[in-house]
C-alpha cells in the first residue's frame, strides 16, 4: 500500500517541526521552500524561547507563562491553544536539548534562562543571541537525517502557487513553480500544511527577510481561506534603521540589562524606567514602542532631534555580553559602525511581526478541509500583542500540533481516496495562464516602485498610531495601486530564474492582504495591544473582545467577528506601571 503523503510549504521552524513529526508517524513528506532551510527567516530570531523550566528556582510555572501571554496579548487570544502551548513549552526545550541545540549553560551545565519583556521571571532559554538560527539548524539537521533515508523530498527553490481544491472544497494538493526553470507543476497530498511565515514585505522596510513576501497567505485568502486579526501588527521597539531593511536589535539586549534613554534638559532620561517602574525597560513591545514614539514624535526629544533613542549596554561586562549577546552586537558593529560594548546604540521601532494570519481551529486546520497552517502565517497564539520569546515557541508548538493532527486527519479519511486528475490539470493551467499574462505586461509602472509606495503608506499609517481618516486614505491608496498594477511593465522576459515576474505575482497578493490589514484596523474602534487609536484610547471589551475574520470577495474583504475563548482567565485591565498582581485585585 502506498504511504500517505503530506505537503509542507515552508522550511522554517514551523514547517520543519511538522515535517519531522509527520515523518516519525510514518508519513511521506514533500517539503517546499524558497531555498535551503538555513536561509529561512527563523534564522533571524534572536532573543530566545519562553518555557517555564524554572532552572533558577524562582517558582515559575506554565500557568504564569500562560497568564503573562494572555495578559500581554490584551486578552484577544483564544485561551485553550495558548494554555496548551505554555504547558508544552518545557518539553519542547528538552526535545531541542536532546537534538543538540547549543543553549547557554549554567555552571552545572544546565540550561540557562534570561528575562524578556512583559515577564517577571527568567523564562527565556537562549543560544547566544542567535537562538532562532540554532533551533532552525537543529531541525534542519533532523530533516536531513530523513532525507538521507529517502523519506522526505525537499523542493528547494520552489514557490508554492495555490491550493488544489476538489469539487467539495477539500484540499487535495498544491501547484508550485520551480523558480529556476520556471516550470509549473501540481503535487498531490493527503493533507497540506502551510508554514510560510509572516507578510512583512507589505510594510517595505521591516525586520523581516526578503522572502517574507506574504504570497502564500494572500493567495490562500483569495482562494477562500479566512484571515484573522490582520490588523494586529507588531512594531518592535528596537531596530537599526537601514537603506535596505531595518535590522532587529533583540529584546534580549534589555533582558541582559540594556537601558533605553534619551537626553532631556541635558541629562540622560530613562523614560521607560520612569513611566513603568514595575517593568522598566522590560515592558512588552507595544508599550515600549509607543513610549519611544511619544518621546521622539510628540515630544521631539529623539537623539540629535531625529527619530532615534539610545539602547545602552556600555555599562555591562564586555565578556559576558559577547557570550550572551555576541550575534547581535556583531550586527550592530557591522551595520552601524560603532562598538555597542563601548557606546550606546541608536535605535527606532520597526515593523516586526504579524499577530494576525490565516484562521485556524485548535487543530491548526483552516476553514478549508485538509489545509492546515502553523507558525507566523496563522493567527492563534498572541492575541493583540506577542511577548518576546513566544514567537519561536508558537512556531514550534504549532508545527508539533499540525504534525500530529494531520496524522489524525488522514487516518479519518476513507482509504485509497483518489482525487480526480482534472482538478490538478485545471489549477496548473490557471496558474500558467496568470504567469503568461504577466509576460504580456508592457505598461509604464515599475513593480518595485509600486511596492515601495505600498510599504511607505503602510508604515506611515498602519503601524504604531492609527487614525481613521488616514486608514481610509490608505485603503484608497491601495486600491489605486491595484489599478496601477495593471499598468506594470515587465523588465525581464526570460523563462529562466525570472525574479522580476515572480515579484509582480507576489505584489498582487500583498495588495490584497494590505487591504485586509488596513480595513480591519479601520473597523476596530478601540485600542488593544499593538492596535492603538488616539481617537479611541481604551480597550472596549463590550464591543471589541472578538476576533476579526476577513473573507475574500471580488469587491474587497468582508469582515465578520468571532467570539474569543476566555474560559480560563477573566479579562482585566492591562497596565505595566504596576505589578500584574495589582491588576488582579482591582
Amino acid at each position: 500500500m502506498a504511504k500517505a503523503k503530506i505537503i509542507v510549504v515552508g522550511g522554517g521552524l514551523a514547517g520543519l517541526m511538522t515535517t519531522v513529526k509527520a515523518l516519525e508517524a510514518g508519513l511521506e513528506v514533500d517539503l517546499f521552500a524558497y531555498g535551503p532551510s538555513k536561509r529561512s527567516h527563523s534564522a533571524c530570531a534572536q532573543g530566545g524561547l519562553n518555557a517555564a523550566v524554572d532552572t533558577m528556582g524562582e517558582g515559575d510555572t506554565p500557568w504564569e507563562h500562560f497568564d503573562d501571554t494572555i495578559y500581554g496579548g490584551d486578552f484577544l487570544a483564544n485561551q485553550t491553544p495558548v494554555k496548551g502551548m505554555c504547558e508544552t513549552a518545557p518539553d519542547i526545550v528538552y526535545l531541542f536539548d536532546r537534538m543538540g541545540t547549543m543553549f547557554n549553560r549554567s555552571s552545572e551545565g544546565r540550561i540557562l534562562v534570561r528575562r524578556l519583556g512583559g515577564v517577571k521571571y527568567h523564562r527565556t532559554v537562549f543560544a547566544g543571541a542567535t537562538t532562532g538560527q540554532q533551533l532552525l539548524y537543529t531541525l534542519d539537521e533532523q530533516v536531513r537525517r530523513w532525507e538521507d533515508k529517502g523519506l522526505v523530498n525537499r523542493y528547494e527553490g520552489w514557490e508554492f502557487l495555490s491550493a488544489v481544491l476538489d469539487e467539495n472544497g477539500v484540499c487535495r494538493g498544491i501547484t508550485a513553480q520551480d523558480l529556476t526553470s520556471m516550470e509549473i507543476c501540481s503535487f498531490k497530498g493527503d493533507a497540506v500544511v502551510i508554514a510560510t511565515g509572516g507578510p512583512g514585505m507589505i510594510f517595505g522596510e521591516t525586520t523581516n527577510s526578503t522572502l517574507n513576501t506574504g504570497y502564500a497567505a494572500g493567495q490562500l485568502y483569495m482562494q477562500g481561506v479566512n484571515y484573522a486579526n490582520g490588523e494586529f501588527i507588531q512594531i518592535h521597539p528596537t531596530a537599526i534603521p537601514g537603506a535596505d531593511k531595518n535590522r532587529l536589535m533583540s529584546e534580549s539586549a534589555r533582558g541582559e540589562g540594556g537601558r533605553i534613554w534619551t537626553y532631556k534638559d541635558g541629562k540622560p532620561w530613562y523614560f521607560l524606567e520612569e513611566w513603568y517602574p514595575a517593568y522598566g525597560n522590560l515592558v512588552p513591545r507595544d508599550v515600549a514602542t509607543r513610549a519611544i514614539f511619544k518621546v521622539c514624535v510628540d515630544m521631539g526629544l529623539g537623539v540629535d532631534g531625529k527619530n532615534m533613542v539610545y539602547l545602552d549596554l556600555s555599562h555591562k561586562d564586555p565578556e559576558e555580553l559577547d557570550n550572551k549577546l555576541g550575534g547581535i552586537l556583531e550586527i550592530y558593529e557591522k551595520f552601524g559602525g560603532d562598538d555597542p560594548r563601548k557606546v550606546p546604540m541608536k535605535i527606532f521601532p520597526a515593523m516586526h511581526y504579524s499577530m494576525g494570519g490565516l484562521w485556524v481551529d485548535f487543530n491548526q486546520m483552516t476553514n478549508v478541509t485538509g489545509l492546515f497552517a502553523a507558525g507566523e502565517c496563522e493567527y492563534q497564539y498572541h492575541g493583540a500583542n506577542r511577548l518576546g520569546g513566544n514567537g519561536m515557541l508558537s512556531a514550534i508548538y504549532g508545527g508539533l500540533v499540525a504534525g500530529r493532527t494531520v496524522v489524525e486527519y488522514i487516518s479519518g479519511q476513507e482509504s485509497g481516496h483518489k482525487a480526480k486528475s482534472s482538478i490538478f490539470e485545471f489549477e496548473v493551467s490557471r496558474q500558467k495562464e496568470e504567469f503568461k499574462q504577466i509576460y504580456k505586461m508592457e505598461g509604464k509602472e515599475n513593480p518595485y516602485a509600486l511596492q515601495k509606495e505600498l510599504g511607505e503608506w503602510m508604515t506611515r499609517n498602519v503601524t504604531v498610531v492609527r487614525y481613521n481618516n488616514r486608514l481610509q486614505e490608505t485603503d484608497n491608496k491601495i486600491q489605486e495601486l491595484m489599478e496601477r498594477y495593471h499598468n506594470i511593465g515587465l523588465d525581464n522576459h526570460n523563462f529562466w530564474c525570472n525574479q522580476n515576474a515572480v515579484f509582480i505575482r507576489q505584489l498582487w497578493r500583498r495588495l490584497q492582504l494590505a487591504r485586509v490589514i488596513t480595513l480591519g484596523a479601520l473597523a476596530r474602534n478601540e485600542s488593544r495591544g499593538a492596535h492603538y487609536k488616539p481617537e479611541f484610547p481604551d480597550r472596549d471589551d463590550e464591543n471589541w473582545l472578538k476576533t476579526t475574520i476577513a473573507e475574500y470577495t471580488a469587491d474587497g474583504p468582508k469582515l465578520s467577528y468571532e467570539e474569543v475563548d476566555i474560559q480560563y482567565i477573566k479579562p482585566r485591565v492591562r497596565k505595566y506601571d504596576v505589578d500584574k498582581e495589582v491588576t488582579m485585585n482591582g
Binding site: S40, G109, D148, A243, L248, K334, N500
Partner: protein, 249 residues
C-alpha cells in the same frame, strides 16, 4: 545631479551561456550596502550606457548576515552582499558570482553540494524520536561555547571559495563540513556515531586534503574556530585510522 556609484557586474543568463560584464550607475544614499545598490537596479534597470536591460538576479534573504544566502565575490573577496557597506568599498564595486559552485543566473549559484557533504558526515544527532523524553545530557559551558561557535556556520561557501584545495581537480569537501564534523563529535550523544563520522572524513575528499593554507580562517564571516576544528579532526582521524590499522593487523 545626485552622486552615483558605479557597479561592475559579471552576468550570465543561465548555466550554459557565456558570462559578460555590465556596468551600472546607481544613486548614492548614506548607509548603503551592496544589496540596496542592487535594489536600485530593480527600480531602474538601465545600464551605464543608458541601455534598458534586465534587473540583476541574486540570492538573498535575511540581509543581516545570518542566513548566508547573498554570498558573492565583491572586489575579489567572497563575502555577504548585505554586510558589504558601499562607503567602505573601492569603486567601481565589482560583483561576481562565487566560482567554486555552478552559476544558476547572474550572481546566483547552486551550493547544494555543501548540503550533500553534511549528509556524508551525518551532521545530526541520532535522537530516539521527537516525543518528550526529558532533558538531554548536561554540557559544560566551556564545551558549549566551542560547539556554539562551530554551530554558527551558515553554509555560505566563503571558505570553499577561498580554499585553494577546493577545485575542479580535487575531491576535497572543504573546511565547512570538517567544522560540522567536529561539532557533532563534540556533543555527548553525537559522539556515539564518532566512528562513522571519522570514516566519512578520513578517506578521499577528507580532512587530510587540507593544505593548511588557512585562507578559510581569513574569510569566514562568523569567525568560526576553523583552525582548531581542522587540527582536532586531523588528530582524531589519524588515531582513528591507526586504531583501524592495528585492528586489521
Amino acid at each position: 545631479m545626485a552622486d552615483t556609484i558605479r557597479l561592475k557586474i559579471k552576468r550570465q543568463e543561465n548555466a550554459e551561456s557565456q558570462p559578460y560584464w555590465e556596468e551600472f550607475d546607481v544613486p548614492y544614499q548614506k548607509n548603503m550596502n551592496v544589496i540596496s545598490a542592487l535594489m536600485e537596479i530593480q527600480l531602474n534597470p538601465v545600464n551605464a550606457k543608458g541601455q534598458k536591460t534586465t534587473p540583476v538576479v541574486w540570492d538573498c534573504s535575511c540581509l543581516e548576515e545570518v542566513c548566508g544566502a547573498c554570498t558573492m565575490i565583491i572586489n575579489k573577496k567572497a563575502r555577504q552582499a548585505c554586510s558589504a557597506l558601499v562607503d567602505q568599498l573601492d569603486k567601481p564595486i565589482v560583483l561576481e558570482p562565487l566560482t567554486k559552485f555552478p552559476v544558476v543566473c547572474d550572481l546566483m549559484v547552486d551550493r547544494q553540494i555543501m548540503f550533500e557533504y553534511l549528509k556524508k558526515v551525518k551532521a545530526w544527532i541520532d535522537v530516539d524520536g521527537y516525543y518528550f523524553a526529558g532533558p538531554g545530557p548536561r554540557v559544560p559551558e566551556k564545551v558549549r561555547r566551542f560547539a556554539y561557535d562551530l554551530s554558527r556556520c551558515m553554509t555560505c561557501g566563503c571558505c570553499m571559495e577561498a580554499c585553494p584545495n577546493v577545485n575542479d581537480k580535487s575531491t576535497f569537501m572543504g573546511p565547512a563540513v570538517i567544522a560540522q564534523t567536529r561539532l557533532f563529535t563534540l556533543h555527548p550523544t553525537g559522539e556515539a556515531n564518532k566512528e562513522e563520522r571519522l570514516d566519512a572524513i578520513s578517506g578521499k575528499g577528507g580532512v587530510a586534503e587540507c593544505g593548511n593554507a588557512q585562507n578559510c580562517i581569513q574569510v569566514c564571516p562568523k569567525g568560526l574556530p576553523l583552525r582548531r576544528a581542522i587540527g582536532e579532526m586531523n588528530r582524531l582521524t589519524f588515531s582513528h585510522s591507526l586504531k583501524k590499522w592495528l585492528k586489521a593487523e
